[in-house]
Amino acid sequence: MADNLPKTPQLDELEKGGWPSFVKEIKMAAKGSPMAVDLLGQLEQSYTEKIGHWKHGGIVGVMGYGGGVIGRYSDLPDKWPNISHFHTMRINQPSGWYYTSDALRKLCDIWERHGSGLTNMHGSTGDIILLGTRTEELEPTFEELAKIDFDIGGSGSDLRTPSCCCGQSRCEWACYDTMGACYDLTMHYQDELHRPAFPYKFKFKFSGCPNDCVASIARADLSFLGTWRDDIRIDQDAVREYVDRGMDINEEVISRCPGNCMEFDGKELHIENSFCKRCMHCINIMPKALRPGTDTGATILIGSKAPIIEGALLSSVLIPFYKMEPPYDDLKELIEEIWDVWAEEGKNRERVGEFIQRVGMGNFLDAIGLDPVPEMVAHPRENPYVFFEEDEDEDEDEG
């Protein structure tokens, strides 16, 4: 099939250079897949015309599932008939994106039989993306995937496929079991993941520490960042070793500490832990000498998202410290409270972060039954536009 590839002078330019070439990949797939051949052709046309050639997606899917497939049709079906349908299947990745060659080979075989042979490993939400197939192939693909235990991920107004950093599997800083938590909640909320019933999408992401290696605080409606409540563990010998080997500890570590809470007297490193902001910097720089404490858990934050409509949001603190121990029962209760309130009162296409801004954090907390704590705010209000409630009058006099 490689012989009758369309001419792609523009794309061919992108076979050059040191970074892996997606053009080579498409050509590789084109050896076995007519879809990949036409994709190449249409893409070359886009490169020439500087415009995409996909139509607005339609609703296609797999029986019993309300999401997980992104419908896609070429707007030049006559010219590129093999991609007249070119739907994406989102397949829920295993926690931490670990695989065996065995499992992945099976996945490839299925996709060779039913799709374009092209994938994204992975989509930016975290799914395995099977890139491009026809409507009638969706169901058979799913059936085969089910046999090797790969289920469909989220799309539409549902719980999106949760993801997590590798956490305790390979990282010394993980303050809770990210992969375990991610798996547990994914399994617990299969129905929410597969049947869109929310006002809009909802994402979980689990990072084992404040380094946030899955960018959870920037792109998850509920962000779990591992942290600790007790003291940073210090191995003073190892500190001295870093210094002896030439690290300028004052410049590189102490002066960069946002808590301004470190001191090195030439022999011992002292940390005033009650001022430590759990930023990770000192630990990052001296991984052999410093470790998070042992009373570990997570800070749970809510509401981040991309800019549309109200402007991008970072998640904000909902629970300053939560132990993150299975079976996470009270956490699940809280999540369901949040979903109930948001499903009830959220507008169509209103993410939970926008919803909270609209109804007010205080009202939202009331509704989900959580007490306000000062950790939730960068600072208290600056404007005097306070809504006083009748029953609160008594309480406030004490100040």
Partner: protein, 359 residues
């Protein structure tokens, strides 16, 4: 009409030069440095070597003309008749020698005007009219100020604080004065929606202006008992009284529910950190005249907490930023409530959007 045309208008304030003591005129723009000599007293030294001593005294701001005349007498006695007021309404006597400073201080003490307010002290409270003159007041101004300053006299009269501490008071949300950027702000507040006089509203006010005045869009036109008027969606009202400012038929004053709130951590100067707004500390304290004991206690608590814990030169807000708001609420013994969480237009930007927490 001839009269009117000849009438002198728009001549502006008197030129300041005629009011400057000779030593100032001669050294205008030539001052080199200053030294704080003792509470309320400083000296400025010119490049020419000339010096001017300043004695700063509390004035109280609300002055009878007889008191002003007494100040004039002191100025004649000590300063060749020259004196000035400060931007925070203290009175300053400007001496060209340091010999009679203590006499002046004594004379001032005799007429009840203590000297201080310089350097790391608490200076006069910037404040407003209150029940003395304003229709809008949710509390009195002068009374609280007097009670609070009586209580804080030691901090006016010495300089033992970590840095400057500026207190301001406004008797309603219009916030006449820089209340919104004060280390401690005392703010008069209402807590009930306006009571509408439907029979007079249409006569006194323009309904579209009234509707437009509401920050939360709580007001809409309505016909009540046959009168064109407005109605207030009470859940949306946060008692700002802006409707009352534009329309007398919508008063909010209410003896049982008016009172004050306390705000902390603002500043104006660019020293060290950028200027900052004050933030809500205590949502409500009822009016308790004549001496508002709960307010004076709350202010003293805040002052002492800061004085004990801040580093040198650290203003209230800088100290709180260093320790964090959670610690502040704990140390101050103030309950954190949903009222503390911003829910106005830019509320989302005040949420804690990081994992930088202390435990």
């Amino acid at each position: 009409m001839a009269d009117v045309q000849e009438r002198r208008t728009d001549f502006g304030p008197p030129h300041y030069e005629q009011f400057l003591p000779p030593v100032i005129k001669e050294n205008y723009g030539k001052w080199k440095y200053h030294e704080i000599l003792k509470p309320g007293v400083m000296v400025h030294v010119s490049e020419t070597g000339a010096k001017i001593w300043t004695v700063r005294a509390a004035s109280g701001r609300l002055l009878a003309i007889d008191k002003i005349r007494t100040f004039c007498d002191l100025a004649d006695k000590y300063c060749g008749g020259y004196f000035r007021f400060t931007s925070r309404h203290n009175v300053e006597f400007l001496l060209d020698s340091d010999e009679k400073i203590d006499d002046l201080i004594k004379d001032l003490a005799d007429i009840g005007h203590p000297v201080g307010g310089l350097a790391n002290s608490i200076t006069a409270i910037v404040h407003t009219q209150g029940w003395v003159h304003c229709h809008s007041a949710a509390t009195d101004a002068s009374g609280i100020v007097k009670a609070v300053m009586d209580d804080l006299m030691e901090y006016f009269e010495n300089m033992k604080l970590p840095g400057k501490l500026r207190i301001a008071l406004a008797c309603c949300l219009n916030m006449c004065g820089a209340v919104h950027c004060s280390d401690i702000a005392i703010l008069g507040i209402h807590r009930k929606p306006p009571v509408i006089d439907h029979s007079r509203l249409n006569k006194l006010c323009e309904i579209p202006n009234v509707s437009a005045s509401c920050p939360t869009a709580a007001i809409r036109p309505a016909t009540v008992d046959g009168n064109p008027s407005v109605e207030v969606i009470e859940e949306r009202c946060m008692y700002c009284a802006n409707c009352f400012t534009v329309c007398p038929a919508m008063p909010l004053n209410d003896p049982e529910n008016d009172g004050v709130s306390i705000w902390v951590g603002g500043k104006v100067s660019n020293a060290r950190c950028e200027p900052m707004f004050s933030k809500l500390a205590i949502p409500y304290i009822p009016n308790n005249p004549p001496r508002w004991p709960e307010v004076t206690a709350a202010v003293r608590n805040l002052v002492e907490l800061w004085a004990k814990n801040a580093r040198k030169h650290e203003r209230m807000g800088e100290w709180i930023n260093r320790i964090g708001w959670p610690k502040f609420f704990k140390m101050a013994g103030i309950e954190f409530t949903k009222m503390h969480i911003d829910d106005f237009k830019h509320a989302g930007l005040t949420f804690k959007r990081s994992a930088h927490l202390t435990f």
